[in-house]
């Protein structure tokens, strides 16, 4: 036993939490850009865009994030690049988020009613204009709740970066535990900090979903109202 839990330990864990947030933001920015490209490629009419995107999504969604991290970590080393752990962690999170965000957004783009495409076509908009001016703004509204939900997954999954040696919240907790050996206390505290980061996002996501559902539900409810 290396003494009792004290304020310094807690501060160290909070510093780790800042890195968790940082890595989440990197993952979300990188993964968001990649995911947007994937979503557009997946709904493209061009087979040369659609196929590689489909294969990419299939591969990433069939592989655990942990394996993706090891591959990035050892892969970068194999290329002779001696980069800090955050690069491997950020890269693997980007690859991972790209696939999941891409699939979510593809679904949202495809759930915009067909008639919107047709109406836009009647207005003589070109394909890209239809996408940009008519479809994407509507898809963005549908996409907001699941995207916020994905952010929760991203924050939680950054915990795996601890395994390739990046000192974020989980790794900070492990280091503190190594010195004072109080796993139940330390990991409960770590869990509490994660909860404080994730729960507001979950709550917000659910709230957005309820609001969106009201707008969608009103008509079908009337249509099926018992006579």
């Amino acid at each position: 036993m290396g003494g009792a839990f004290n304020v310094n330990h807690f501060n160290f864990m909070l510093t780790g939490a800042v890195w968790t947030v940082g890595l989440s933001l990197i993952a979300f920015a990188g993964g968001g850009l990649l995911g947007f490209a994937i979503a557009l490629a997946r709904v493209s009419r061009n087979r040369l865009l659609r196929w590689p995107a489909t294969v990419y999504v299939q591969l990433v969604q069939g592989t655990p994030l942990l394996i993706v991290m090891f591959l990035c970590y050892f892969g970068l080393a194999m290329l002779g690049l001696n980069l800090p752990a955050i690069v491997a962690a950020g890269l693997s999170m980007t690859i991972y988020v790209g696939a999941y965000a891409g699939e979510i957004w593809r679904g949202c783009i495809q759930s915009v009613p067909r008639t919107q495409w047709e109406a836009a076509e009647c207005l003589a908009l070109r394909r890209w204009q239809r996408m940009r001016l008519v479809i994407l703004p509507q898809a963005a509204r549908i996409a907001t709740p699941p995207t916020v939900g994905l952010m929760v997954q991203v924050v939680k999954n950054t915990s795996l970066a601890s395994i390739v040696g990046f000192v974020e919240l989980t790794r900070a907790g492990q280091l503190v535990n190594n010195s004072i050996v109080a796993p139940l206390l330390v990991y409960m505290l770590v869990a509490g900090i994660y909860f404080a980061l994730c729960f507001p996002l979950s709550w917000w996501s659910r709230k957005l979903e309820v609001r969106l559902n009201f707008a969608h539900r009103r008509q079908p409810d009337l249509a099926f109202a018992p006579a």
Partner: protein
């Protein structure tokens, strides 16, 4: 790649280890899915209960699990419980953590499915004098499962992939095997590529298996032949 050549021979020579690891992953996932689905479904019923305390307890469990990382949950179960005097082997700890984890997600999914069952059907069942448990068993459960079947399948595949994290407490599943092989052969990149391929195959098999189960369980779907 500066002169690096991928060399799979040494890694593939260890194939019995990979088979063992894959078998362990399959066992762990199958058990976690069955137990987690049971707990999740019961929890969904609990959340819909009229008893505030019960629905609050189920809701707290779900939120606590869904807003913390699986890795931390595994650490709490394994190191936390052993420091509190409950010594359990790594496999059991991993299983408990995975079951609790997938149970919470299943609860949310099943609740959505149960909420989507038409009110009129439940009222009709009540008029026929069915008790609450009977209503759930005969009227709500199967249509609810059928409605959320794709979401459940995705969740269970995610669970199988997430079982890789249990390697961190020493469960000898696929990822742990990859770590062992890479430290024996010094072929780290190749080891993880091999394991990634195995995981992809496993996830396809799992999707196929769950689809087949769906075809058997949801007889309506088979008869209509239209609902994919």
């Amino acid at each position: 790649m500066m002169g690096y050549k991928l060399e799979f021979a040494d890694v593939l020579a260890q194939w019995p280890l990979f088979v063992q690891g894959a078998w362990m992953t399959i066992q762990l996932s199958a058990l976690a899915v069955v137990l987690g689905f049971t707990i999740g479904t019961l929890c969904a019923i609990g959340r819909r209960s009229r008893y505030r305390l019960l629905s609050f307890a189920c809701g707290t469990y779900v939120e606590a699990v869904r807003n913390t990382p699986l890795l931390i949950q595994i650490f709490i179960v394994f190191f936390g419980l052993s420091s509190a005097g409950f010594k359990i082997p790594a496999f059991a700890a991993a299983l408990v953590a995975l079951v609790l984890n997938v149970g919470a997600y299943t609860c949310e999914i099943m609740r959505a499915g149960m909420d989507a069952v038409h009110k009129g059907q439940i009222e009709a069942a009540e008029c026929l004098g069915l008790r609450r448990a009977q209503v759930y068993w005969h009227v709500i459960l199967r249509p609810a499962m059928e409605k959320v079947d794709p979401a459940l399948t995705s969740q269970f595949v995610l669970l199988m992939l997430a079982s890789s994290i249990t390697s961190q407490i020493g469960v000898e599943e696929l990822t742990a095997v990859a770590n062992r092989v890479q430290s024996d052969t010094y072929r780290s990149f190749e080891s993880f590529i091999v394991v990634a391929v195995i995981y992809i195959v496993l996830s396809w098999m799992m999707r196929g298996g769950l689809w087949a189960i769906g075809q058997v369980v949801f007889t309506r779907r088979r008869k209509l032949g239209t609902l994919a």
